[in-house]
């Protein structure tokens, strides 16, 4: 029963990991671009939500109404002003530039907020939930998070299948030059893709902040969890990302159940095992490039 609870909680956390992963997956799918500061952007969003929440005295979840559109704009501008220059060039420069950006964000956050850990206060929502029996209960926040992940992924899938811009995304991701020959402005496509990516990072960051404490240097770990979810699920598959996140969450939960210290390691081991035995991931369609 205790194990069932572990699996359940792990599944709920998996939704959060899938949210972190979605942005990574999207940017890589459309432009073969990996933003190493993805996790830092998520953490920065949590901090901004915290400050805004304090100033306006609104619940952090309501603050999302401001943070999400802001993240869309930031993502678009980041792409057009900075990242456009390094799409398609030697990945070394992508790695270095986005890594550097992450270092800058982390230290700016540290300068402004110090190293003290923080949290987002959502009031009674944090601890409330419903019990299934006396060993298993489901918190509202984790459930909302998983729900958000499913919503975002469904929304993206619909967008890709049914809209003109979504079709342009898929065409650009297949062959950018051929897409230009169709009259598609790939700079706009890239800008919107990064806007979505940063927005999902912001959503994930705020949701994460409501249930765990965060500090300026917590970005890389979020990046790693997102990345592991993508690899476990397999590149090129949006739903694979959700499954990957869930598997990671469950692995960590089970590991923690065995011994509180083993949680993170268990997740990493599952990731490494997939990498060794099934590098394309469980539902992967692409190569690991």
């Amino acid at each position: 029963m205790v194990w069932l609870n572990a699996v359940l909680q792990g599944t709920l956390v998996g939704g959060l990991y899938a949210l972190f992963a979605t942005g990574l997956s999207l940017a890589f799918g459309v432009m073969r671009f990996v933003n190493l500061s993805h996790g830092d952007l998520a953490v920065a969003s949590a901090y901004i939500a915290m400050s805004l929440s304090a100033t306006l005295d609104w619940n952090p979840l309501v603050i999302l109404v401001i943070v999400l559109p802001g993240a869309l704009v930031v993502g678009y501008l980041l792409q057009r002003l900075l990242f456009d220059r390094i799409v398609g060039v030697d990945p070394s420069f992508q790695i270095v530039a986005t890594f550097g950006l992450g270092v800058v964000i982390e230290n700016l956050l540290y300068e402004k907020y110090t190293a003290d850990t923080q949290g987002l206060d959502v009031g009674s929502l944090k601890l409330s939930g419903f019990k299934i029996n006396d060993k298993i209960s489901i918190g509202w926040l984790p459930l909302i998070t998983l729900g958000c992940a499913v919503l975002v992924l469904s929304g993206l899938a619909l967008f890709m299948r049914r809209t003109r811009l979504g079709r342009a995304f898929r065409a650009t991701s297949d062959d950018a030059d051929a897409a230009r020959l169709m009259g598609i402005d790939i700079r706009t496509v890239w800008g919107v893709a990064m806007a979505f990516a940063v927005a999902t990072a912001a959503l994930a960051g705020v949701l994460y902040g409501t249930r765990s404490s965060f500090d300026p240097f917590g970005g890389p770990v979020r990046l790693i969890y997102g990345f592991e979810a993508v690899i476990i699920g397999g590149l090129g598959s949006l739903w694979g990302t959700l499954i990957g996140g869930v598997i990671l969450g469950v692995a960590q939960a089970i590991g923690r159940q065995i011994d509180p210290q083993y949680g993170e390691l268990a997740g990493h081991f599952v990731f490494l095992a997939i990498l060794v035995f099934r590098p394309t991931g469980l539902f992967g369609k692409g190569q690991l490039r």
Partner: protein
């Protein structure tokens, strides 16, 4: 019948490089004498500088020449440090011999690490190395014999302070100069040519018979060895070894990435210049450490976006000079005709 010899020679050195060699040897002589006239604080600073120099050179070897951009090298710094701690504190081995032995152990470990990490490419390889560093750190944190999360102090009883300071300094000098020498020798060798061919055009190099996997693996192991060696030497000076310090990205990877990108990735001179500039400025802005990190990070990002050759790359392009002769140039001489009898 006369034999025609076309007038080209393959040449590596140049007047600039010969001058540089002389200056370098003189500099090494001076640096070796430092313990006899400089105070302890200066020696410690130089140890830090040599550490950065060595780590930057090794990262540059991997990223700039072998096409392996890792953000997980802190794994080997930590492994080198903790290997030394394990050998000295737990198994009572000699303090100084444990440095190369620990580096050797780390190099051996780097092989299975590569077998896993090499399944990824580009940016995903980079994050993969980060994961592996995290795993190494998490495993070490669980070892109570090595001090677990709060860390441990290196047992140095039996060596007096001054001997230790001198020995550590010289080992650090070896680390710094050795890194440059290793990189130089590799690049001049056949391995170096293969490596760069693979970096420039993998499919083409494969077609010419280069064994891509093996070449990358060899460079990876060498770089891991020296990174671990350098890490151990640093903690010989620092004495206190903690997981979140020795496996820290902020302490190790961030500075060396910034150093190499600003100095000039893919050149030997770049990491040297970058390390000097970075270190001197960091000491100058000691009181504003966070802002310095932000500033140097911004410069590094700008370099990656707008000045990809870095400081040295730009100088090299403008002056067409190489201080460390690793590139082969084709030089025109007069065509000759040799008369053969008969």
């Amino acid at each position: 019948m006369s034999e025609f010899r076309s007038g080209f020679r393959v040449v590596r050195g140049s007047p600039a490089s010969r001058v540089c060699l002389v200056v370098l040897l003189a500099l090494i002589a001076v640096l070796t004498s430092v313990p006899s006239w400089a105070e302890a604080a200066t020696q410690r600073r130089m140890v830090e500088l040599f550490t950065l120099l060595s780590l930057a050179q090794m990262w540059n070897l991997l990223a700039g020449f072998a096409g392996l951009v890792s953000v997980g090298q802190q794994a080997f710094v930590g492994l080198g440090a903790y290997g030394m701690v394990a050998l000295v504190n737990v198994h009572g081995q000699n303090l100084y011999w444990s440095v190369p032995i620990s580096a050797f152990i780390a190099a051996v470990l780097s092989i299975p690490i590569a077998l896993v990490a090499f399944r990824l490419r580009g940016s995903y390889f980079a994050i993969g190395t980060w994961v592996i560093a995290e795993v190494a750190s998490l495993i070490i944190v669980q070892q109570t014999s090595l001090g677990a999360g709060s860390g441990v102090s290196l047992k140095v009883a039996g060596f007096d302070l001054e001997t230790r300071q001198h020995a550590t300094y010289w080992l650090a000098l070896v680390a710094g100069v050795g890194a440059l020498l290793i990189a130089y020798l590799i690049l001049r060798s056949k391995l170096g040519l293969q490596m760069q061919a693979i970096r420039d055009d993998e499919a083409g190099a494969r077609g010419l018979g280069a064994n891509v996997y093996r070449t990358r693996l060899i460079v990876w192991v060498i770089a891991s060895f020296w990174t671990a060696f350098t890490g151990a030497v640093y903690y010989l000076s620092n004495l206190r070894v903690q997981p979140k310090d020795s496996f820290s990205v902020a302490n190790w990877t961030a500075p060396i990435v910034i150093i190499v990108v600003i100095g000039g990735i893919g050149t030997l001179e770049g990491p040297v210049i970058g390390a000097l500039v970075y270190y001197i400025l960091r000491e100058y802005f000691k009181d504003y450490h966070t802002w310095y990190t932000v500033g140097s990070g911004v410069v590094a990002v700008a370099a990656a976006l707008y000045l990809q050759p870095g400081i040295w790359g730009t100088i090299r392009r403008a002056l067409k000079v190489d201080l460390f002769p690793v590139r082969r140039r084709l030089v025109r001489q007069a065509d000759t005709h040799v008369e053969n009898g008969g």
